[in-house]
Amino acid sequence: MNQNLYKYLIRLGDDSLIIGHRLSEWCGHGPILEEDIALTNFALDFIGQAQSILEYAGKVEGAGRDADDLAYLRYEHDFRNALLVEQPNGDFALTMMRQFLFDAFRKPLFEALTKSSDEQVAAIAEKSLKETKYHLKHSSEWIIRLGDGTEESHKRTQDALDTLWRYTDELFYEDETDKALEAAGIIPSISKIKEEWEKTVNNVLTEATLTLPTNGWSYGKGRAGLHSENLGYILAEMQYLQRAYPGAKW
C-alpha cells in the first residue's frame, strides 16, 4: 500500500469529520432558524466529505477497514486532524472565525487537488470544491458583517481571531509524507496554498476592520496525533454508540 497516501487521506478526512461534528453541535442552537439550517447543512457537507475520503483511505490501506471503522473505531492518538477544527464552538463569532480560517485553507487546497495525479483524489476534490466555495462565501460574509458591525460584534470577532490565530500555522504543516506525495504529483505544494490563504484572510479581515494578531506563537501537533483535551470529548460522544453496541446499524 501507499503508506504516504493513506496518512494524507486520514489527515484530510479527519479535518472534515471533526469540523463537521463541531458544526452539528449547533443543530437546534443556531442564532436564528435560517442560520441553524445553514450550519447543519454545512455539517452534513463535511461529514459527506469525510465519508468519501475515509472510505478511500480504507481502500488504500487495504486492511479491510471502511469509512465507519475509521471514524468510529480509532482512538484519539490515531486521529490526525489539525487542532483548529477541534476547538470548541464558543460563541457564534468564534464558530464563524474557525470556519472562515478553515474554509480559506480548504478552497485553494481542493482547487489544487482537482489536478491530482491520483484520479480518486481528484474526483473527491472536484465534488468537495463546490461545497467549499459556498462555505467560504458564507463564512467570509459573516466575518465582514460581524467585524464591521456593532462594537460588541467587532470585539467578539476580534477576540475569536486572537484565540484561534495560534492554530492556523498547523494547517500548513509539512513533513516527508507531504513531500513524497508532492513529488508524485498527488498533492500540491503547501507553500502555494499558504500564499492564497494569506491573500483571502488579509482581504476579508481588512474589510471586516479586524487586526491581524502579531503574536507569532503557534501551536499544534494534531498531525502527529497529539490533541487538545477537546478531541477526547468529541470522540466520546461521536463513538459512543459503536463502542457500546459494536456493529449496530439502523
Binding site: 436564528i32 432558524l33 435560517e34 458583517r145
Partner: protein
Amino acid sequence: MSENANWPLWEVFISSKAGMSHKHAGSLRAADAKMAIENARDVYTRRSEGTSIWVVKTNEVFASDPNDADAFFDPANTKAYRHPTFYVIPDGVKNM
C-alpha cells in the same frame, strides 16, 4: 428573540428549471437581500428544488383585498370560453 424581529421578512420565489416561472416557496428573515438569498438557498433549495432564487421584502408586496373578492373574481366564473380548452395541444409542446 426580540432582536430577530428587527430583521425584515422576505418572500422567497424559486424557479425549478431554467426558463420556468419563479414560484412562491415561503418566507424568511434576513438583514439584507444578500443574506436573504443565501438563507433561501439553505432553507428552500437543500433538496435540489431550485436553479434560481428571487427574494422580495414582504412589505413591498401589495395584495388584493379579500373583501373585494366578489367584485374581483366572481365575474370570471361563468366565462368558460376564456379557457383555452377548445384546442388540441400538439404532443411536442411541453410544460403546459
